[in-house]
């Protein structure tokens, strides 16, 4: 029994997180993978990574994201390329392509109330197998799910939602992976990093460790596995404000 055996623990995942290219950042992503994608519509997208998945040529993905998107842009191009087998999210939108694919059963869709969606993702990252919420009780969402009464009110059991990989955008990261998000682009992204076996973060700016004060970290590096610095983004405005009221 050699000494080496006692001290040869393989290194952990929290070394050398910075990747040099989209290809390296997506290494290991395979056909059939469950992929979480952060952002809210086109806002706060990991643009390079989303594009990179298309170029990688993987197929049969389970896409877990809030919103199926807008034709011709962002994550919707995954649908257009036919690489999504299953969509789990809150909003399909008025997309004829997705609607036809659902009807033709080439895409499965699981619609989830947005709060339940967020909490299921958090649960996966937090070691919580399931939880009870009032959301969806007495609706189609409750179909096939267990209910339980707490303090006289009926709650629905919802289960954790896991992924193989998360692709999210952050404003700033240090090299350990401590993240800062910008404004409403935070949304599901920290939760998705927690829930995915491998979290990949596209950051506007990489900074040295110590540049982000410990009190100002939005998500600790423990939940972040790969970093890709991308300084230029399209960051389109998906909509403009409505016309001002007459009154």
């Amino acid at each position: 029994m050699s000494l080496a055996r006692a001290s040869s623990s393989p290194p952990g995942r929290h070394l050398a997180k910075v990747r040099a290219s989209v290809e390296e950042a997506l290494e290991g992503l395979r056909d059939g993978a469950r992929v979480m994608v952060g952002g809210f519509g086109l806002s706060g997208n990991a643009e390079a990574l989303i594009e990179g998945v298309l170029e990688r040529g993987v197929r049969e993905l389970t896409l877990i994201t809030n919103n199926a998107g807008t034709p011709g842009r962002g994550i919707f191009r995954w649908f257009e390329a036919g690489i999504v087998r299953r969509f789990v999210g809150c909003y399909v939108g008025p997309n004829a392509l997705v609607a036809r694919a659902i009807e033709a059963r080439t895409i499965e869709v699981e619609l989830v109330p947005q709060g339940t969606f967020a909490e299921r993702i958090r649960a996966a990252g937090a070691g919580i197998a399931g939880f009870y919420t009032r959301t969806g009780v007495g609706t189609a969402i409750a179909s096939g799910k267990e209910t339980r009464v707490f303090r006289g009110e009926t709650y629905l059991l919802e289960e954790a939602l896991f992924a193989d990989m998360a692709l999210v955008r952050a404003r700033r990261a240090d090299r350990f992976g401590n993240l800062r998000f910008h404004r409403t682009a935070r949304n599901f992204s920290p939760l998705m990093c927690m829930a995915a076996a491998t979290s990949v973060v596209e950051v506007d700016e990489l900074v040295p460790e110590g540049d982000i004060d410990p009190d100002d970290v939005h998500l600790p590096g423990a939940f972040v596995h790969r970093l890709l610095e991308v300084r230029e983004h399209e960051d389109p405005l998906e909509r403009l404000a409505p016309e001002p009221d007459r009154g």
Binding site: S43, G93, L111, R134, I141, N187, L191, E238, P242
Partner: protein, 223 residues
């Protein structure tokens, strides 16, 4: 005669108590935002993770693609605003920290059941945060036209569309007036300008308790 969409939004804005946290649903409810007095201590929450939604961002210098509301429209943030992730945003909603949610409606039943996400036989667009808001907000106000574009009543004895939540709506504001949901069903609170009792009763697909003669639309002199 009846209220315009702008007048409906204005009437709904008057429902919001000072010092409250309010979430506005997508669509018509979002238009309430611009009618909330800026000094009333009413804090607008948007479920994508912002408390303290300010006026729409319109000037080029104000626009930031990462500062949006749940309808994906660019907004500003008021002083005292805060950003948080979606788990905390819905903790706020489900945990009873939102005082009022104003939501659109496809159908409201006299029991307070709300249907606002799917029409049988039509494409489902999605659920969004409506189910969480309907189940979690302390007070749910439905803001909707009284009838569909085809003239069918939206206020009904029992919803025929898939439900968003059961027994959640406390008040309905429509183009024809304001109604409460009580233990005995719909109860008239206020008639819109130029709408007769007969007209609102006829447009309602459930029995309507008109009580004493309800007030006519008072215009703005009551604010």
């Amino acid at each position: 005669m009846a209220w315009t969409r702008d007048e409906m939004a204005e009437r709904a804005a008057r429902e919001l108590p000072a010092g409250s946290i309010v979430t506005l649903g997508i669509g018509l409810p979002t238009r309430i935002a611009e009618r909330v007095p800026r000094d009333a201590g009413i804090w607008l929450h948007t479920e994508n993770g912002l408390l303290g939604v300010g006026p729409y961002a319109r000037a080029p210098g104000e626009l930031d693609s990462q500062v949006i509301n749940a309808g994906k429209e660019p907004v500003t943030i008021v002083k005292g605003g805060s950003i948080f992730d979606s788990a905390l945003s819905f903790a706020m909603i489900r945990g009873g920290h939102v005082d009022v949610a104003v939501l659109g409606a496809m159908q409201v039943a006299e029991s307070g059941d709300l249907a606002n996400w799917a029409i049988p036989g039509e494409r489902v667009m999605g659920i969004g945060g409506a189910m969480d808001l309907a189940a979690g907000a302390r007070r749910v106000i439905a803001l909707t036209t009284h009838r569909t574009r085809r003239g069918e009543p939206k206020l009904v004895t029992r919803c025929t569309y898939p439900l968003t939540a059961r027994a959640c709506v406390a008040r309905v504001i429509t183009d024809l007036g304001v109604l409460d949901v009580t233990d005995r069903g719909f109860s008239l609170v206020e008639l819109a300008r130029g709408v007769s009792l007969e007209a609102i009763v006829a447009a309602t697909g459930a029995s309507l308790d008109v009580g004493d003669a309800p007030s006519l639309d008072p215009g703005r002199d009551d604010a």
